[in-house]
């Protein structure tokens, strides 16, 4: 037990060191990828709450990233600080996510997948068509990067640390949430909703909360995405992003705390590793997803657990 804890602490320190120090050696492109990884991890962590912990399928997470991105872009280009954009984005994400939860009270599984898929496209259509508000297909350009505690984040490295900081805060918050009675109620909802309800757990309310919180975290990711790319238009927030986030969660390990980080790392870095076979990476990624589903239902994080468990078993 102590050996295991020691190994976990060592691994954690290693990862922390990599996340903190590796970027110092990177050029802007590498920093951009690392920042993108942080943003996608946050968005996937939100979906992991809804899907992995509470068991509610959502194919609309990309739309919430879009909502957050637009909230941040509109407010910051109008001269407000990014904090205001974050608040507005998270607020909208909570509200719209809560509403999206209502269909989940009536239908489940594939029906819910279709409803959320439809919702994603509806959000996209609104972002594109209501150009009085969103700028339509022209998008919003020159999104400024925030000044955090007096430090401007215009430099890629500074912005990366900003993203990393937000990721850590979100991770901390979600970690605490998942260990709280709320988190237990989400898992109970996934494991056995009928039993949960009979034990006094208000499954309706927790279902709505799971959608609202997971979606709001997605919007939070969007609110950082906007200053990262500094130009947004509706196209990145169509269905494709939702599907990509879903696959990240599944590949990393749904219902595993570190699953989204690993899934996002693969999604962001795989195309880089596969430069020798330009364009093949999506094909390989799809194959990887299928292999994970068939052979590793608990995702790559689950595989790591299993391998380390086996290593310990053999050591004895």
């Amino acid at each position: 037990m102590t050996g295991r804890r020691l190994a976990a602490v060592a691994a954690g320190l290693l990862v922390a060191a990599l996340l903190l120090l590796l970027p110092l050696t990177l050029r802007p492109y590498g920093l951009y990828l690392m920042s993108l990884w942080a943003v996608l991890t946050i968005a996937a962590m939100g979906l992991n709450l809804t899907l992995g912990y509470a068991g509610q399928v959502s194919l609309a997470q990309g739309a919430f990233v879009g909502i957050g991105a637009y909230a941040a872009a509109l407010l910051t280009t109008a001269g407000w600080p990014l904090g205001a954009g974050l608040l507005l984005g998270v607020g909208l994400g909570l509200l719209v996510g809560w509403l999206l939860g209502y269909p989940a009270l009536r239908v489940q599984h594939h029906y819910l997948a279709f409803v959320t898929l439809g919702a994603n496209t509806l959000v996209f259509l609104v972002l594109r068509n209501e150009d009085w508000l969103t700028g339509g297909v022209y998008g919003i350009a020159a999104i400024p990067r925030p000044t955090v505690l007096g430090y401007p984040t215009d430099h890629p490295l500074a912005f990366y640390y900003f993203c990393l900081g937000v990721l850590l805060l979100v991770g901390l918050g979600l970690g605490l949430l998942l260990r709280s009675p709320w988190g237990r109620a989400f898992e109970a909802l996934r494991e056995n909703p009928v039993r949960a309800e009979s034990l006094g757990i208000d499954t309706r309310r927790y279902t709505l909360l799971a959608f609202a919180i997971g979606s709001a975290v997605g919007s939070l990711a969007g609110a950082i995405y906007a200053p990262l790319v500094q130009y947004i238009d509706p196209s990145p927030f169509a269905l494709g992003l939702s599907l990509a986030l879903l696959l990240m969660v599944v590949v990393g390990g749904a219902g595993r705390f570190f699953g989204p980080g690993l899934g996002a790392a693969i999604a962001v870095l795989l195309p880089e590793w596969l430069r020798f076979s330009e364009g093949l990476y999506l094909i390989l990624y799809a194959v990887l997803v299928i292999l994970v589903l068939v052979f590793l239902p608990s995702g790559l994080v689950g595989l790591a657990d299993r391998l380390s468990a086996r290593a310990r078993g053999e050591g004895r």
Binding site: A11, V15, R27, P236, E272, L300, A304
Partner: protein, 382 residues
Amino acid sequence: MKRRGLLSAIALLALAAPAAQAAETVRIANVIELSGNGATVGNMWKNAVEMAVEEINDAGGILGRTIELTHFDTQSNPGVSRAAVQKALDLDPYVLLGPIYSSSTKVNMQLAQQAGVPQIVGSEASVITEMGNPFVFRTSLSQAASMPKLANYIRDGIGAGSVAVLWVNNDFGRGGRDAFVAEMEARGIEVVADISSEVGQSDFAADVVKIKQAAPDAAFVYLHEEESARFLREARKQGLDIPLIGETTLLNQKVIELAGEAADGVKGHVGLSADAPLPSIRAFRDKFVARYDTVPDHNAIKGYLAVYAVKEITERIGGFDRQAFADALHCATITLEDEPGILIDTSWDRKGDVDRISFLAEVVKGEQRIVGTLPPLGVGCD
């Protein structure tokens, strides 16, 4: 957990690849659509760029330096294009070429501006040169420049008093539509139907019915190639017998190939065309066909002349200073006499927009025919 360490190590290798640059070379980075929806247009551009670079290097390079060309794929995706430009900038290039898709250009041009690297793009959306970016330059007429020519043609050539507009609902289509509608209003021509369509839309029955119901004198069609072809077939089927007018894409060889005889009779304005009745273009066309075994399109011409513009301007400023290059390209005019590789006399204005002659064309029996030449707008710098 061990695995994560490994991942990061690989990431390190992948991300931190530094590029040593030899003293006698100059690096040009080409960020372009090599895969995805834009693969066709991007590969035309890329092939022509490669051809131009090779020619210049064979002739001794620019000011004695050999051009080192690196390609980056945007995958026709704006987000990826931004990453690709970032990656290209990490190589510290002298000039950036591409991309063609306006949505991609809009996402990544800010990066080049921040890095102070001149970027010569193939995009047509008006907005690109309207953001006050001093490092962005076009190779083709912007929508703002081509729409007035087209509008004049609709008024004078067709004699239409009312038009329908059918456009694809993305930034390309919307930009063209906005510029076109403004020109129509300026000329007192009524837009009686204003119809948006989706990228990838397959069924144009409703769109044609709407045009028929509005009964305009002509219809302006501003869609991508495949959607243009699908629309033309449906229009032919429903017997829509008004002039169908378009911009460069509608008269593209690809549309003609896909739409078959339904494309016959389509008229419009073409900024650049491999069929242009100019000896320089004809010579280029022959060289390209000999080398790649396909007929070049306007995107090939754009890529080719972009490289020669870099050569000419650099020689004019006599060194490899990016700021000086950008300053010099603004308000520059390059003629065939200055540099034959420019293919067609071209001027840049203060915003980075180009001005030059353009053509009126028509599809006759499955071929694009140039039926007239329009003079430059002559706005330039003064």
